[in-house]
């Protein structure tokens, strides 16, 4: 352990330290002071974390006895996570104010959840990943139920907690099975555990997969892998583990919902990407493919049909997140092919970034249009919005078009990338089913657009005071368009790096 190690793990450490500092500052100062200062401090730490990630550059480096690995992909995701945290903290000031919720704890939880997500993102060892995912999830449970005065929020928190705890157990069980199977296989075949690596290290697993004949199809490993994949998919809100997602997003206040929806996806899909890269080209039989295809298609269908007839826009976004999770899983599926792997990883990375921006923006609009911190949740509240508040309507319209994947928004390019990777991996019929799902989803988003622009209403002008959410929403909408038109220019340089530096594979063990 040296400075390099600390630097590599610096982004989550800064976030966590930030969480503690914000908490203590809140404790030490009078309530009225903390509003701006706390936000300022939290954002400062987010920026510090981003800078720390940025200075790592795109090349691969491992740290903490190969417990973590940082490369372009991870740097991108860490910066994204820090940005999401910062934006969420900015956007939720109104809600905190109008509901008299404890602010210091809120900011601390957001920072710590981000820290957990970052640990998950950068971990190379599944044990670290588990700790990271738990930090993130526990913070999520609390955030989902943060507005205790409201039954829906409390219910969201409770449901999320129950399901999440259950899934964590499955995740741990899966990791244990992988540990056992890898250990047994390596011992039985006389393979040495590389110095400083553990049996749960992805590199070790990769070594076992690629060097032990028949290991990829051994039932112990497959069961473990499927449990791992399944539970990570739950954390990302993919069907059939999606049941809580709409409830949670509806129950939680809008900025929190945006935070939950994006951070969980970013983190879970990144570690899945890493896990899938070692499965690529390995003889794992059809099991994992079947599971992944099934999950992807199911969530695309379920998400899109579920979104089609919602009365609550946050539920709609919840189902939409399920559907988009499905598309991302399709990209992951493509990353299982050795040929299409690079393209798939680029596509998935881009998809995640774009999805995060769009979703944060959408929920910010919901908060923006809310009154007294109460979200504008009912879709009927959007009737005739184009006449009342054209700016908000256009902003939300942009997000909806992006979610449905219409060209000139970033949503189109993301879907394009995923489909290209998928088709080059040979998943033609999968793509066709996914396209049908998209068409269904189109209707869902269009309904809201139609309510906003095409239907007259007698509702009064809503005068919102939530300037922060407005700022977030409008900048996100701008990003959606800019990235839709000039993606290469708008993205961070490290995104390019993530394309050039593939994640760690088994070859580097030797």
């Amino acid at each position: 352990m040296n400075f390099g190690d600390i630097h590599a793990a610096g982004a989550p450490i800064l976030m966590a330290v930030g969480g503690c500092v914000v908490l203590l500052t809140d404790l030490a100062s009078k309530r009225s002071d903390t509003r701006k200062f706390g936000t300022f401090l939290a954002i400062l730490f987010c920026i510090a974390s981003m800078l720390c990630s940025y200075t790592l550059g795109g090349q691969l480096r491992t740290a903490f006895s190969n417990g973590i690995a940082v490369e372009g992909l991870v740097v991108t995701m860490q910066i994204l996570l820090a940005a999401i945290a910062a934006v969420t903290i900015v956007a939720s000031s109104e809600i905190l104010q109008s509901f008299h919720l404890p602010k210091g704890e809120y900011r601390a939880l957001i920072l710590l959840a981000s820290a957990g997500a970052m640990v998950l993102v950068q971990s190379l060892d599944l044990v670290n990943a588990f700790v990271g995912i738990e930090i993130m999830s526990v913070a999520f449970y609390v955030l989902a139920g943060y507005r205790r005065a409201q039954a829906a929020s409390e219910e969201a928190g409770a449901k999320y907690f129950l399901m999440g705890a259950f899934v964590s157990a499955i995740l741990l069980f899966g990791i244990a099975l992988i540990y056992g199977s890898v250990g047994l296989a390596m011992k039985a075949n006389g393979l040495e555990l590389p110095q400083g690596y553990s049996f749960t290290n992805i590199v070790t697993i990769s070594k076992a997969i690629h060097q032990v004949p028949g290991f990829g199809t051994s039932p112990l490993f497959l069961l473990g892998a499927v449990m791992l994949i399944g539970s990570l998919m739950f954390k990302a809100g993919v069907a059939p583990f999606h049941m809580v997602a709409p409830d949670v997003y509806q129950g939680a206040p809008a900025p929190i919902a945006g935070f939950l929806a994006t951070t969980s996806k970013v983190a879970a899909f990144t570690i899945l990407m890493r896990f899938f890269t070692i499965l690529a080209g390995a003889d794992t039989g059809a099991a994992i493919n079947v599971v992944v295809i099934g999950l992807a298609l199911l969530s695309i269908i379920v998400g899109n049909t579920g979104a089609a007839n919602q009365k609550s826009i946050k539920r709609l976004f919840g189902y939409s997140s399920v559907a988009h999770g499905g598309y991302i899983v399709l990209g992951l599926l493509a990353s299982l092919g050795t040929e299409s792997q690079a393209a798939a990883i680029t596509a998935v990375t881009f998809y995640i970034v774009a999805y995060a921006i769009t979703t944060i923006g959408s929920f910010a609009v919901v908060a923006w249009l809310g009154k007294d911190g109460e979200d504008a949740d009912a879709i009927s509240a959007y009737r005739g919005l184009g006449k009342r508040n054209l700016g908000a309507a256009i902003t939300l319209g942009i997000f909806l078009l992006s979610l449905s994947g219409i060209p000139l928004t970033v949503g189109f390019l993301t879907k394009l990338g995923v489909f290209m990777a998928l088709l080059s991996a040979g998943g033609t019929w999968v793509a066709v089913v996914a396209l049908i799902g998209s068409a269904i989803g189109l209707y869902a988003y269009l309904r809201v657009i139609s309510e906003m622009f095409f239907v007259d209403s007698t509702q009064q002008e809503t005068s919102s005071t939530d300037g922060a959410s407005k700022l977030v929403a409008v900048s996100a909408a701008t990003l959606v368009i800019v990235m839709g038109v000039f993606p290469s220019q708008a993205l961070l340089p490290s995104f390019e790096a993530s394309v050039t530096a593939p994640p760690v594979s088994g070859d580097e063990v030797k």
């Binding site: 219409i406 390019l413 489909f419 290209m420 068409a439 622009f453 239907v455």
Partner: protein, 488 residues
């Protein structure tokens, strides 16, 4: 000069942005200026050359997203330059002659100008992904125009229109991606060469043919895929309807000629009888449905199905004369139907109704307008000496010796169209007014000059079609050379 098409596209967009920023009063004039200059420039597109590559002139290439294979890749041939001209022209008259809705002037002009520009991108694009993006993105302004400024049933119409066309184009997208993965390029000309050389997997081409046919047929409202058209056309505000029916629907036929047939391989050829049959069915079906309408806008809308049926037949039939007729007819249909829709808009604006049962007496009240309307109707039913006759005649002529039965049925449709159009005119123009609120349709200078210009064009093309036909047929020959359809 190669940047010409960029200028043609960019000018309306710039005008649109400026118009949406300035005061409402000056929005219209700015829009007119922008689109008019674009229209004049697109005439240059026909008359001038520039870089020539495999039959296309004004070829222009610039990277957009090189990693995805997405390029700003433009080129014009006879067909596309005519269609670009048509689009810019329709944009101009749409802006000039149709007043914007009062509450959202800027949004209205914005949507029209953007729709026109994107349609032009689609027509001029030589990169199929770029084509696709423009093809689909152009739907958004239409969607907004229908939804925000449309008729009573606008919400449903907008959603129906959008969902139908997007589903079609999603299929197209999947096929395009498939081509890209198989060949590594989105470049149209390269793809065409590769397909012609037989270097692409036939099953993929089959999928491309099916998917693109569905996408384009939906756009062109060929019969089983026409369901969106009625409600959409009736509820679309007239200004946008000019573009939608006059230019965008042509994207469907254009796509069939440009993409489905050359890139669809052998399977696309084997689809031709089916397409022709569907075209013939469209002709007859459109005529029947139009005959049953009492709303004159609906009559014109459904007559569009009928006319598009001819155009589709001519486009795919594999005969040079028919194809150049088809291209010409696209132009004609844009002009004629546009003119009819404008008249329809005047009628409903001044008389307060579009129902034939509530009209009548216009002939005596507004003689100039009525005579022009009659001329447009003649053009629509393809009387000789009007433009419609030339195109329709060429199509039927070309198609007849290959698909005699289908052509015969389609010809019967021509008679039908005469029946319902004239019947409609007779009932709505002649006789006494059937409603109390009869008002004189008084045309302003600009409106009068636009209608007169349209009339002149109709007669001009009808009398001397050869210059345009030369451009169109030149194109038809070149495009046709790629596929050599020899149907026995």
């Amino acid at each position: 000069m190669n940047e010409l098409i960029l200028v043609i596209v960019a000018l309306p967009l710039i005008a649109a942005v400026i118009a949406s920023l300035v005061h409402e009063k000056s929005a219209k004039s700015i829009s007119i200026i922008g689109s008019a200059i674009a229209c004049l420039l697109s005439i240059l597109g026909i008359t001038t050359g520039g870089t020539i590559d495999r039959g296309f002139h004004h070829v222009f290439n610039a990277p957009w997203l090189p990693k995805l294979g997405l390029m700003f890749s433009f080129g014009l041939d006879g067909m596309s330059s005519l269609l670009v001209l048509l689009t810019t022209f329709l944009t101009v008259i749409a802006v000039i002659v149709i007043p914007a809705p009062k509450n959202a002037v800027r949004a209205y002009y914005l949507s029209i100008l953007v729709a026109g520009a994107l349609t032009n991108v689609a027509f001029a694009s030589l990169n199929i992904l770029l084509f696709y993006i423009a093809f689909e993105a152009a739907l958004i302004p239409v969607l907004i125009a229908i939804g925000m400024f449309g008729g009573g049933d606008r919400s449903k119409a907008a959603i129906q229109f959008f969902v139908f066309t997007v589903i079609g184009s999603l299929l197209l997208l999947s096929a395009i991606i498939g081509l890209r993965i198989a060949t590594g390029t989105f470049d149209y000309l390269t793809l065409k060469d590769l397909v012609a050389a037989g270097a692409v997997d036939p099953s993929l081409l089959r999928w491309f043919a099916i998917a693109s046919f569905i996408a384009f047929a939906t756009k062109a409202a060929v019969v089983p895929l026409h369901a969106w058209l009625g409600r959409a056309y009736i509820n679309t505000p007239t200004g946008m309807l000019l573009l939608l029916s006059g230019a965008m629907a042509k994207l469907g036929v254009y796509g069939l000629i440009r993409f489905t047939l050359p890139l669809g391989g052998d399977f696309a050829e084997s689809l031709v009888p089916l397409i022709v049959t569907l075209g013939a069915v469209s002709v007859v079906y459109g005529a029947f449905v139009a005959a049953a309408q009492t709303d004159i806008k609906a009559v014109i809308a459904f007559s569009s199905i009928s006319h598009m049926g001819y155009i589709v037949i001519g486009a795919v039939v594999g005969d040079d004369a028919a194809r150049s007729g088809s291209v010409l007819q696209m132009l004609n249909h844009g002009i004629t139907t546009g003119a009819l829709f404008i008249c329809c808009d005047f009628i409903s604006r001044y008389r307060g109704s579009r129902q034939v049962t509530a009209l009548g007496g216009i002939w005596s009240d507004s003689p100039l307008f009525s005579r022009l309307l009659l001329l447009f109707t003649f053009s629509s039913v393809a009387l000789p000496l009007t433009n419609g006759f030339v195109g329709e005649f060429l199509i039927l002529l070309g198609a007849f010796h290959k698909f005699p039965y289908q052509t015969a049925i389609a010809s019967a449709g021509a008679i039908g169209s005469a029946v319902y159009m004239l019947w409609m005119i007779q009932r709505s123009i002649y006789g006494g007014s059937k409603s109390d609120a009869s008002k004189v349709i008084s045309l302003g200078v600009s409106e009068r000059s636009v209608l007169l210009a349209l009339a002149l064009m109709i007669i001009g093309i009808g009398v001397a079609p050869s210059p345009l036909l030369a451009i169109a047929s030149d194109n038809g020959h070149k495009v046709g050379a790629a596929m050599q359809p020899e149907v026995k």
